[in-house]
């Protein structure tokens, strides 16, 4: 058991001559809600993409629970326990809400069922489908989306689509969940609701949360520790209060 759930060592990537991220050393303890902030183009989403296998880091590596995950494919990294949401919502928009979550449940070992079993409708298929549906409903209940379960995902209001994306990521049974601007486009009411939900899933599902957010009020309410990035390098790391009051951070954000 490693001391940190996620540990990145000198993580960096460059696209041609552009060094998008350099020397990122992030250490997240188990059960933490960890924030990553920084102005636009600071490399936050790029770090997410490296952690989920979309990009291969050019330097450095990262470990989840002591296991090196660099070089694994997106699917493998998801199976190892990192799930994510996207900055611009990527739901399966032509599927119903509950089916979106059931896609997330697809790879859970208890719902293993070969395609021949499904094609010839053996009893196992019906059992698996029923259990998946129940499980998905339970997850939706946490997010207050149970009533909307049969609506098409694209017909949900924006705030609920964000929640559904988190629900779907949660369905893959991750150890670490990466939320890319979860509160973007939400009204204050919905944001307050989101704070409650993120804390609740952290406690109930034994999760660690790493999130990117621009809403400083949200960040200061929810995050225990922060990494502030600017121009692809780490500006400051530490507990939230210190980071947000740091003159360098204020300068990077407000300019000056």
């Amino acid at each position: 058991m490693a001391e940190y759930l996620l540990e990145t060592q000198d993580l960096g990537i460059s696209f041609g001559g552009l060094k998008a991220v350099q020397h990122a050393n992030i250490k997240i303890k188990k059960g933490q809600i960890y924030g990553m902030v920084g102005p636009n183009g600071a490399g936050k989403t790029t770090i997410f993409n490296m952690l989920t296998g979309v990009y291969l880091p050019t330097t450095g590596t990262f470990f989840l629970d002591g296991e090196e995950l660099k070089g694994k494919t997106q699917e493998q990294i998801n199976h190892k326990g990192i799930a994510r949401t996207f900055q611009n919502i990527r739901l399966f928009s032509n599927m119903s809400v509950i089916r979106n979550v059931m896609v997330g449940l697809h790879n859970q070992p208890q719902y293993k069922c070969s395609f021949l079993t499904s094609t010839f409708r053996l009893p196992k298929h019906f059992r698996v489908e029923r259990e998946m549906r129940e499980h998905a409903r339970e997850i939706l209940r946490v997010f207050g989306l149970e009533e909307e379960r049969n609506a098409l995902a694209c017909n949900l209001p924006y705030g609920q689509q964000r929640k559904l994306e988190i629900a779907r990521a949660l369905a893959t049974n991750p150890k670490l969940i990466l939320l890319d601007e979860p509160a973007a486009g939400m009204n204050p009411q919905e944001t307050a609701d989101l704070v409650r939900i993120v804390k609740k899933i952290r406690d109930e599902f034994d999760l660690t949360v790493l999130l990117i957010e621009h809403d400083m009020k949200f960040v200061s309410t929810i995050c225990e520790e922060l990494t502030v990035l600017n121009f692809g390098t780490v500006l400051i790391q530490g507990d939230t209060e210190t980071c947000l009051n740091d003159p360098e951070v204020i300068k990077a954000y407000i300019g000056g």
Partner: protein
């Protein structure tokens, strides 16, 4: 009671659509068998019916790739070609090797054809499915032509002259063909309406998100490609048994396009649509061929193309869409429900004394109070509280 509700829900969810194709095919087949037993079908009908059946199989299987997986494949006739040649070759070998019943021969050869076609699907799919959109279409198109040219130049399979195989008995071939079609529809529908089908549709909807959810994209793309190839191979054997001589020029690029036309006309991702479109187009094709012969033969393609254009234009016309919506029984109920709901809502809102009347926003009615106003049935309670609080504070300010 609980049983009743689940049944009702099943119909409300539109799952009846899954069963209707089986029912229609079985009734159609039963009628044909009865006609054949009493009056006897004409010779042309006996060859038309299996052709309709294998066209339906081809359209349904291609719909798996194009409609559900969302990848454009233009080499479907290539898989059919592989199946036809190898399946019929197997049948020929089986016939010479001993007295195996014809029914067993054709079933075995269909299985062999399916497996070989699926293997080809795997070999082609593994490199080609890394490509996207137009590039995959070109790669599969090339595959179809390559396969055709290989069989053309193999003396083993009759070369350019074609390979002859035994015609199957016309009185039972259409029954076998339609039962095979039932099997294919059963498999496709079950595969799509399962967790695997959900994964496939997820890949079509958003491949990046599907990957991030841990869906093995390569596996599912290959699986669907191979399943589609398997069924196309089976259709190839039915083709051989109907026509008697397998000629490689049948499986040209044109035939792949024709299957694609069936899928597109029937609606991407709609198995029932593919069945209807395949049946109509095949029937149209055969009828035109027999009606416009001799000097009129060149007109055939023009008439065929014109009819296709007319179908496409009309099926997408807004008025036609509206008509289809209006004749869909599910929408009738919805419409009356909606109308009733709107009426109820309006009545409920009318009962609430509002400060501002919607028909005359300038008239502010200050006499009514909010304390004892009736609650409209469709207003969510938590919103109501919010509304009242807001209104009351507003009043205080006055």
């Amino acid at each position: 009671m609980a049983e009743m509700t689940t049944k009702k829900n099943r119909f409300q969810n539109g799952k009846w659509k899954n069963y209707i194709s089986y029912i229609v095919i079985i009734i159609f087949l039963a009628i044909l068998i009865i006609i054949n037993l009493t009056k006897g079908l004409g010779f042309s009908d006996k060859s038309t019916l299996p052709r309709i059946a294998f066209s339906c199989i081809l359209a349904v299987s291609l719909n798996l790739v194009v409609g559900f997986l969302g990848e454009l494949s233009l080499g479907h006739a290539g898989f059919m070609c592989v199946g036809a040649y190898l399946g019929c070759y197997t049948a020929n070998v089986l016939r010479t090797s001993g007295n195996i019943p014809e029914l067993v021969t054709i079933i075995l050869s269909m299985l062999v054809a399916g497996v070989v076609a699926a293997v080809f699907g795997f070999i082609i799919g593994l490199p080609a499915l890394r490509l996207k959109g137009d590039y995959l279409a070109i790669a599969t198109l090339a595959f179809g032509e390559i396969v055709r040219c290989i069989f053309k130049n193999l003396p083993f399979f009759g070369g350019a002259m074609g390979m002859s195989t035994k015609l199957y008995d016309g009185n039972t071939l259409f029954i076998i063909a339609f039962i095979t079609l039932l099997f294919v529809v059963f498999c496709c529908q079950n595969l799509i309406n399962s967790k695997h089908g959900r994964a496939v549709v997820a890949i079509r909807d958003n491949e990046i998100a599907a990957k991030a959810m841990g869906i093995n994209v390569t596996y599912y793309k290959l699986l669907i490609f191979m399943v589609a190839a398997f069924f196309a191979g089976m259709a190839g054997v039915l083709y051989g048994a109907t026509i008697g001589t397998i000629r490689q020029e049948t499986f040209s690029y044109n035939y792949s396009i024709e299957i694609l036309v069936m899928v597109v006309l029937g609606g991407m991702g709609s198995i029932n649509g593919s069945l209807i479109a395949a049946a109509v187009i095949t029937w149209l094709n055969i009828t035109l061929q027999s009606q416009l012969s001799g000097a009129l033969a060149p007109v055939k393609s023009i008439v065929y193309a014109l009819i296709l254009i007319i179908i496409v234009v009309f099926s997408n016309a807004p008025a036609m869409k509206g008509f289809r919506e209006s004749i869909n029984p599910r929408n009738w109920r919805k419409k009356t429900e909606d109308a009733g709901k709107i009426k109820n809502d309006a009545a409920a809102w009318d009962r609430i004394p509002t400060k501002i009347r919607m028909d005359d926003p300038l008239s502010v009615d200050t006499r009514t109070t909010y304390a004892d106003s009736p609650v409209p049935p469709d207003v969510v309670v938590k919103n109501r509280d919010e509304l009242y609080v807001k209104e009351e504070t507003g009043k205080e300010e006055e």
